[in-house]
């Protein structure tokens, strides 16, 4: 295990120093001569503020992008409006807000402006006039919502948080509709403009395979709303998180070298910042104080003929007050050894704390993937995946109660699928739950 501490520093009377630490736990250290896959659990922790310090709240820039397509008519749109008002009431004049509505047209109802009483009055009046209409230009609506924030900034945001809340009940059926392409754009918008994206899907008709990855790539959270009544709780809940962000744009950077493969098991967006380099950057998101996130990564070591050492490097990078900070690179060493030594390590010296998170995150990934397979009609494939992963976790779960519970959940789901296919509501609920648990995020619907 390696630990490295880094401290961010505030400017003037803004945020006090807050510690960010990275704890890296490899499951094992030995590699077989024919090559091996090895997991590392990376735990990113944000410390607490000093006891006698009350830091200024980070100013927030929020774009509310609401679907007003025909299917949102009635209670859904009415509740979306109430949720928008609830969010507005909790913002103050140091924050910025804008309102965008879309069906097959996109209208910027209120360009980004400071949330003064006058602007709030204007937004309330405009919301009252909005009615449900036509098809769903979701992609364009989202981009215009992000651009409205970007266009309002004549000065650098000075480290504030910027987020777009996208609420929809439907599919993207106008403009660009490919989920992977849209998720890639969400990652690009976050990287190039600092504007994150959170998505809110209501009902049973939206595409969770679009909204989920959009939020992951955008560094935000995906919320599945079962009823219109849950809109307000999730809007207000996520707003509360944004208003208490202590460190922003947290990224885990990894470097295993040219011929080592890097696969992120947990539900985080990973990219290669420089095409010909071996570094991988994992978007963790904006984090409040006293928070921790686990990122499980699987590294593939190639085969070797002679004994040799291999090293994986890791560090955390984040922003506070517009300045970027990082901790020094940590090194994790791995050694090629004969099969007998590797077997002994496997049976006697595996890191159980690391395997706890490895197992949990593999279980969540299996649930997400099985949900998608089932929705595509491949029930047999879904069951096979669930049972395979359950069996693998059982090999190292021991008496870990959470891992045993995860195994039970996987096998139960497989059994349920054998009895009846997963319906849309169930699929969305399972998908969103698996994503939320993998990312260590809260369920605001019932808070």
């Amino acid at each position: 295990m390696s630990m490295a501490n880094g401290n961010s520093r505030s400017n003037g009377n803004q945020r006090a120093g807050i510690a960010v630490t990275l704890e890296s736990r490899p499951e094992r250290r030995l590699i077989r001569p024919t090559g091996s896959l090895r997991h590392i659990d990376f735990c990113v922790r944000v410390g607490e503020f000093a006891a006698n310090v009350r830091p200024d709240r980070t100013p927030l820039t929020l774009s509310l992008v609401l679907d007003r397509s025909g299917s949102m008519s009635g209670e859904k749109l009415a509740t979306a409006k109430r949720a928008a008002l609830a969010v507005l009431d909790r913002m103050d004049a140091s924050d910025r807000v804008c309102l965008v509505v879309f069906d097959d047209r996109v209208d910027v109802v209120q360009p980004a402006a400071l949330a003064t009483p006058e602007i709030k009055r204007r937004i309330r009046a405009e919301l009252a006039r909005i009615e449900a209409r036509a098809n769903t230009a979701l992609h364009e609506g989202w981009l215009i919502g992000c651009r409205a924030i970007a266009a309002s900034e004549t000065e650098p945001r000075n480290g504030g948080v910027a987020r777009c809340f996208l609420l929809t009940d439907g599919q993207a059926n106008a403009g660009i509709t490919d989920p992977e392409e849209i998720a890639g754009e969400a990652a690009g918008v976050l990287e190039h403009t600092g504007i994150g994206t959170s998505t809110f899907g209501i009902g049973n008709d939206y595409n969770e395979s679009l909204l989920g990855p959009m939020a992951v790539a955008g560094g935000g959270q995906f919320h599945h709303l079962r009823t219109a009544g849950e809109i307000t709780n999730t809007f207000v809940g996520e707003l509360g998180e944004l208003l208490s962000v202590a460190v922003g744009h947290v990224r885990l950077e990894l470097d295993g070298g040219r011929d080592i493969t890097t696969e992120v098991i947990s539900e985080y967006w990973a990219s290669q910042p420089h095409p010909n380099a071996s570094q991988v950057s994992v978007v963790v998101g904006d984090l409040p104080a006293s928070e921790e996130r686990h990122v499980v990564v699987r590294f593939g070591f190639p085969s070797h003929q002679a004994l040799a050492e291999r090293t994986v490097l890791a560090r955390v990078v984040w922003s506070v007050g517009g300045e970027e900070h990082s901790i020094p690179w940590q090194e994790m060493g791995f050694t090629y050894a004969d099969n007998r030594s590797c077997d002994t390590e496997r049976h006697e010296r595996m890191d159980s704390a690391a395997m706890h998170w490895v197992g949990l995150h593999h279980a969540e990934r299996a649930r997400r993937e099985a949900t998608q397979l089932s929705r595509r009609g491949d029930v047999q494939g879904a069951r096979s995946l669930l049972e395979k992963v359950a069996k693998r976790i059982a090999e190292y779960a021991g008496s870990d109660p959470e891992l045993q519970a995860a195994i039970y959940e996987l096998l139960s789901l497989s059994q349920e699928l054998s009895e009846r296919p997963m319906d849309a509501a169930d699929a969305k609920e399972r998908y969103s739950q698996a994503q939320r648990r993998s990312r260590g995020q809260k369920d605001f619907r019932t808070i």
């Binding site: 097959d104 036509a134 040799a308 490097l313």
Partner: protein, 214 residues
């Protein structure tokens, strides 16, 4: 039979550079410099020598990393004396970390030279999206929904019925009837860019209409 006292190095196809080390040619090739440059850096005490001489001399990962770092710093036009000073006393770990920082800094510098503002970046994405925008299914209740018009013969090349629609503030759209009840909508500012596509669609609609009449 006795074993010869001369050490023989055996190379197997599966052994990588990490195991057997590199020749000076391989080292130079990996970093994109000439063998002569590598020897020069060794002479200038920037790069530690291999320890042995002659054919078959081996260079290690450590030397590879140092050479990469030397090249990155040299590309920043740092004098050799400055590079020597920066590398003095660095461990392999330090060299690796510094190399990563310098590569990142170099890429950021390249990126910022042509960087767009956040607003322009998003506008570029929007522009791309709108160039692939497909006609949504018409909604008679939509204020901007097209009104029914008598359709001219789409077989008349270039003689298409056009009407500007105010779909979004400042935008105009052209309506091209393809068949009774079927229209193609083209945004005014994209007309020239997609002229070939528009012509193809019109020809295809004409051909389809001809077949129906048979």
């Amino acid at each position: 039979m006795t074993i010869d006292s001369i050490t023989v190095t055996v190379y197997t196809p599966t052994m990588s550079i990490d195991d057997r080390g590199m020749t000076i040619e391989e080292l130079a090739d990996l970093v994109g410099v000439t063998v002569r440059t590598v020897r020069y850096y060794i002479t200038e005490d920037l790069l530690p020598g291999p320890g042995t001489r002659g054919k078959g001399t081996i260079y290690t990962q450590e030397q590879l990393l140092r050479l990469k770092l030397i090249r990155v710093l040299a590309e920043q036009r740092l004098p050799l004396a400055e590079i020597r000073k920066r590398l003095a006393g660095l461990s392999t770990r330090d060299v690796h970390a510094l190399l990563g920082e310098e590569v990142r800094r170099a890429h950021e510098k390249e990126g910022s030279a042509g960087a767009q503002s956040p607003k322009d970046y998003i506008s570029t994405l929007l522009g791309r999206a709108r160039s692939t925008w497909t006609t949504p299914s018409p909604d008679p209740s939509h204020p901007a929904a097209p009104q029914a018009q008598a359709s001219p013969d789409p077989a008349s090349s270039g003689a298409s019925s056009q009407a500007a629609l105010g779909s979004a503030p400042g935008e105009s759209w052209h309506r091209l009837p393809l068949a009774p009840g079927v229209e193609l909508h083209v945004r005014g500012d994209t007309w020239d860019r997609h002229r070939n596509l528009i012509d193809q669609l019109l020809r295809s609609a004409r051909a389809s209409g001809d077949r129906r009449d048979l």
